[in-house]
Amino acid sequence: MQVEAYAGEEMVLNMGPQHPSTHGVLRLELETDGEIVRNVIPHIGYLHRCFEKHAENIDYPGVIPFCDRMDYIASMNNSLGYALAVEKLMGLEVNERVKTLRVLMAELNRIASHLLSIGTYAMDIGSFTPFLHCFREREKVLDLFEWLCGARLLYNYNWVGGVSHDIPEGFEAKTREFMTQFEPVIAEMDKLLSYNKIFLERTADVGIISEEQALSHNVTGPNLRGSGIAWDLRKEEPYCGYETYEFEVPVGLGEHGPLGSCWDRYYVRIREMEQSLGLIRQALDRLPEGDVHEHIPRRVRPAKSEVYDRTETPRGELGYYLVSDGGLIPFRVKVKSPCFTVLSLLPAIAKGGMVADIIAIIGSIDIVMGEIDR
């Protein structure tokens, strides 16, 4: 593209912090030259809530509601990572039912999260209908969660050593019902959005993350897989018995435009939802008997040690580094956020593009500011 034709006067433009397409409160300092972006400086911290400092003052189970609030779109996955880390710290082994339920909820949550990401992405690009379709489907997942544990967004479901509620009666049938009606919606999404010419034009040649760039910036999750690298922690470092499930790791193929474009990342998410459906089906099929509260310790008091544990959330690799001094309160909780690392790549991929492409890029890397600022 001959972007130079759009060059003009140099100007510094503030995009955000209140901007509909920054997915939270993110401020981008754009140095523009006419329509061309010469430099992007992301300013973060507007949503800082002292998660790590708070965690040093609350007992171990009390941290879980705060974990939920980091990435509020995928709370199940966030608290799962923390619960697994504390269990590892204590050397606690949970029973099969808990493991299966965790997989089930994590995958349902992944679908809800990807639906939101796809829906808002479509809206950023300027197509409103897919947004409504996605939200209608997401609503059904949230209804399932509300039925399960009483909350729609911040579940506090994964506890240390178990989960808060067993599934209510009829939940299984309802989930299967949801899956049967959701499967055609994914195909519908292809027609509605994925192969729409305007959408392709806006995304397929924009925001290329090359393989080297992705690796050097520690990009994870669908963003990394969009660049063609099949790295998924559920396969590489299985937790919760993911090694016993059959699923594929979808990667970007570069079908439209170069590999690692916004479209590739978007499409990886669509295909991940299909895989999640498969995982949910397998989890429902095997759901073993057991008591979900069996291994919940009366007091969570790990011995003096430290642990780093990471899980695959819908946004990538979320790591918890926990240090215990042998007391009831964590000595240190450090979070490695997937969105933070991918945001660090934004200046590199947005430089030299058009202002309108910034929107397309931010939407495609699917950041949640709550998790970046914590």
């Binding site: 003052n57 609350i58 189970p61 879980i64 609503e139 509300e146 039925w147 506090n156 027609k191 305007i198």
Partner: protein
């Protein structure tokens, strides 16, 4: 030039395909609800407003300790030996008089951690969700009914910062 017209044609064609799907949705059932006149049925596990059945509360303070945001304020005093013994619904003897049991729902994060440790299951989350108020202090729900009978103790020294 050829490419230009091809692009236009493809755009229109794919948009029309999308329109077809949208059009078909005109004939499906609506999934929205006219909220204030019609209401969703909330499942029984819904975590909305907290409620304490104060007659059953034994004043053990487990809920206060469990709350991660410290929004439950409770004061108790010992009941006199001469007073007639009272029991909670499940038979637990009540030895403390709960003179203050306030929950600040504007601070509460609806995490439900306080209800699990409650030995008499008197503290529950209810599916009641319409409790907007005009002033913030109205969010402080007072549940205690008993008046303090012993002379008030001198106020305890403030806790050091960071202690729980």
């Amino acid at each position: 030039m050829k490419r230009y017209f091809k692009d236009i044609f493809q755009s229109i064609w794919t948009v029309l395909q999308g329109m077809k799907i949208t059009g078909l949705h005109l004939f499906t059932r609506s999934c929205t609800l006219q909220y204030p006149s019609v209401k969703w049925e909330l499942p029984e596990r819904s975590r909305m407003r907290l409620f304490n059945k104060i007659e059953d509360c034994i004043g053990c303070g487990q809920c206060v300790r469990a709350c991660p945001v410290d929004c439950i304020y409770m004061t108790t005093e010992k009941r006199n030996k001469e007073e007639p013994p009272i029991f909670a619904a499940d038979g637990t003897p009540i030895k403390l008089r709960v003179t203050q049991f306030d929950i600040d729902m504007s601070l509460c994060c609806y995490c439900n951690l306080c209800t699990y440790p409650c030995p008499t299951h008197c503290l529950v989350m209810t599916p009641e969700y319409e409790f907007a108020v005009q002033a913030k202090q109205d969010f402080l729900y007072r549940f205690a009914k008993d008046e303090p009978q012993a002379p008030p103790k001198p106020a305890p020294s403030p806790r050091p910062a960071g202690a729980r």
